[in-house]
């Protein structure tokens, strides 16, 4: 008999704490599949964030460290510079990377740190209960933008990939999504590509993943997946943003 589906080897036997319809579970699994397929478990070090992804170390059977909110890229920098032979990636949400950790992410990218950032963009602060994030859509209602995000008072959605693309230290930036099977397959390929860029020392790599958050968007999981396509991708267009060398 042929096994067509099983738990990735580098995942522990644990139940996800994520809400129904959340994209984090898919992304967590995709990373694990890539680590398995590239046979990287023995050399990978994961930096877990503050936010919904913070319990990654309960799921990954790989060396993992927690970072303070926003500091993932700095912690990953410290690890990678001391252990250049390891594969080091940081898993960060939009509040984490695009608000409180703007400086750490931007400068790690600008220095061309040989780390990979898995950037989960769901447009809200998930763990704290759905507050407005830097990536929240205009007019989107959140607990802290009850009248909808107003560009005059609350600014515009931050496009991390496009901002980082201006930095010479970045070598691979791609925006993908996990709202449907075809998109999930592309996301897995993008994660693998980011890791290959790191292995080939081309520069800083980042995969931005548009991810549904039904609980805080107050939508059904299915509507959330549709909303990614119908609304989010209009502001955050999918596709390769930058690749300095084919990997």
């Amino acid at each position: 008999m042929k096994t067509v589906y099983c738990r990735p080897k580098c995942m522990k036997e644990a139940h996800f704490h994520y809400c129904p319809g959340c994209g984090h579970g898919v992304i967590t699994r995709l990373i694990a599949e890539v680590v398995d397929e590239m046979e990287l478990r023995d050399k990978t070090i994961c930096v877990a964030p503050a936010g919904c992804g913070m319990l990654l170390y309960n799921y990954f059977d790989i060396d993992t460290i927690e970072s303070a909110h926003g500091r993932g890229a700095a912690v990953a920098t410290g690890i990678k510079r001391v252990r250049p032979e390891n594969l080091v990636f940081s898993y960060q949400g939009d509040g984490d990377l695009a608000a409180i950790g703007t400086a750490e992410g931007f400068h790690a990218a600008n220095r061309g740190e040989l780390i990979s950032v898995i950037f989960v963009n769901n447009g809200v602060y998930g763990m704290t209960g759905g507050q407005m994030a830097p990536t929240t859509m205009l007019e989107q209602v959140t607990t802290t933008s009850p009248a909808g995000r107003d560009s005059v008072l609350q600014g515009h959605p931050v496009k991390i990939c496009e901002v980082y693309a201006t930095l010479d230290g970045t070598s691979y930036l791609e925006r993908v999504a996990v709202n449907k099977p075809a998109a999930i397959i592309k996301t897995k390929k993008a994660i693998a590509k980011a890791f290959r860029h790191q292995q080939q020392k081309t520069g800083f790599s980042l995969v931005e993943i548009l991810s549904p958050c039904p609980t805080n968007w107050k939508m059904s999981p299915l509507d959330s997946c549709r909303w990614v396509d119908d609304v989010m991708t209009k502001v955050f267009p999918l596709g390769l943003i930058k690749e300095t060398k084919k990997c």
Binding site: D42, K43, I45, A76, G78, H107
Partner: protein
């Protein structure tokens, strides 16, 4: 060599291979020394970070990866590092943090001061934790204490603070570096290196289970008790026959020594207790001294911070005199000797009455 450069050089000789810093006066020579020096060491890492917050988090990453890691700053920058220091303590990761204090609060100025005593000795960041605080009084001692700091950090897996000031950092003195005994090997079973041939490891401080967090707090507390028991360091000077004990640390103690020498020439029996570890604080020697004499003179380059620990140590016994010069003012030994003499004479008079 300047105190700043000496601390940097000693750190490299003590096996520090990862330094992360951000420019701030009066400690820049330390960052500059590391920029040149640490990259000469195999695997040496130097990053001028984008902020103090980034620097301390790079230290956290480097420490988790198994390196002897260090950062340095002065008051305002140390405030920014507190987040990371709290995480280092919670994660039980070793690191050395140098604070060359300046006048504060706020922007303050760049002159020598001792305004960060309470911040350094009370943990400084959020949560229930402590850091060992070492206060050198000369360039030589600063260099010597760097070795001690790294060893203590590794022994207890806890951040260690070297608390100097702008004067110590800037002044030039001859210094001998001891490369003495080979470094002890510390257990590194916590280090993240990739889970090759062993179970995966995690470093975290998030403990949702309140019982688990409570036990973690008590575990840290027991470690701090051990430090209090084993790591108290101080120096005494002309204390045996003294009628009054001056309490001062760091550069203030250096000034106090000069003042005491003058006072001795005047026939006033004044001695010195110089805490070298500010935390754990040398309570016992103060309590023992209180059996011999009743007058304690606290001198600080602040409005009075260490005086709180002296009061705690004395538990209401004795009489505490105080002289403070905050804001970056450096009093001369002559000035201090006059103040101490006045207090001595007043005390003698009131005793006669």
């Amino acid at each position: 060599m300047s105190g700043n450069s000496a601390v940097g050089e000693a750190a490299v000789l003590a096996g520090c291979t990862a330094y992360f810093g951000y420019p701030i006066t009066p400690q820049n020579e330390l960052t500059e020394h590391m920029a040149k020096r640490i990259v000469e060491v195999p695997g040496g890492v130097f990053i001028q970070s984008e902020s103090e917050i980034a620097a301390i988090n790079m230290v956290l990453g480097a420490s988790a990866a198994g390196a002897r890691a260090m950062t340095s700053s002065s008051g305002p920058g140390i405030s920014l590092k507190q987040e990371g220091i709290s995480y280092l303590a919670a994660d039980e990761l070793p690191a050395v943090i140098v604070n060359m204090m300046r006048g504060g609060p706020g922007m303050g100025n760049i002159s020598p001061a001792q305004s960060d005593y309470l911040q350094a000795t009370r943990g400084g960041g959020h949560g229930d934790y402590r850091t060992i605080v070492l206060a050198p009084a000369s360039v030589q001692e600063a260099a010597d204490l760097v070795y001690v700091a790294f060893d203590l950090a590794d022994t207890y897996r806890n951040p260690v603070v070297i608390l100097g000031d702008g004067m110590l950092g800037q002044m030039m003195e001859p210094v001998t570096f001891t490369t003495a005994a080979p470094r002890k090997e510390y257990p590194k079973e916590y280090v993240l290196s990739g889970a090759s041939g062993r179970p995966s490891r995690m470093i975290r401080s998030l403990l949702f289970d309140t019982k688990e967090e409570e036990e973690h707090n008590w575990k840290l507390f027991r470690k701090y008790q051990l430090m209090e028991h084993n790591e108290v360091r101080y120096e005494t000077f002309l204390l045996d026959d003294a009628d009054m004990a001056v309490l001062a640390y760091g550069i203030a103690a250096r000034i106090a020594k000069g003042a005491i020498k003058r006072l001795r020439q005047e026939g006033l029996k004044v001695g010195l207790i110089r805490p070298i570890t500010l935390w754990p604080f040398p309570m016992k020697i103060i309590q023992e001294t209180a059996k011999q004499l009743g007058d304690f003179f606290v001198f600080e380059m602040s409005t009075g911070q260490m005086i709180e620990d002296v009061k705690l140590a004395l538990e209401g016994k004795g009489h505490i005199h105080f002289y403070g010069r905050p804001g970056g003012v450096i009093p001369t030994p002559v000035e201090l000797s006059r103040i101490i003499a006045r207090h001595c004479y007043q005390s003698q008079r009131s005793k006669k009455r």
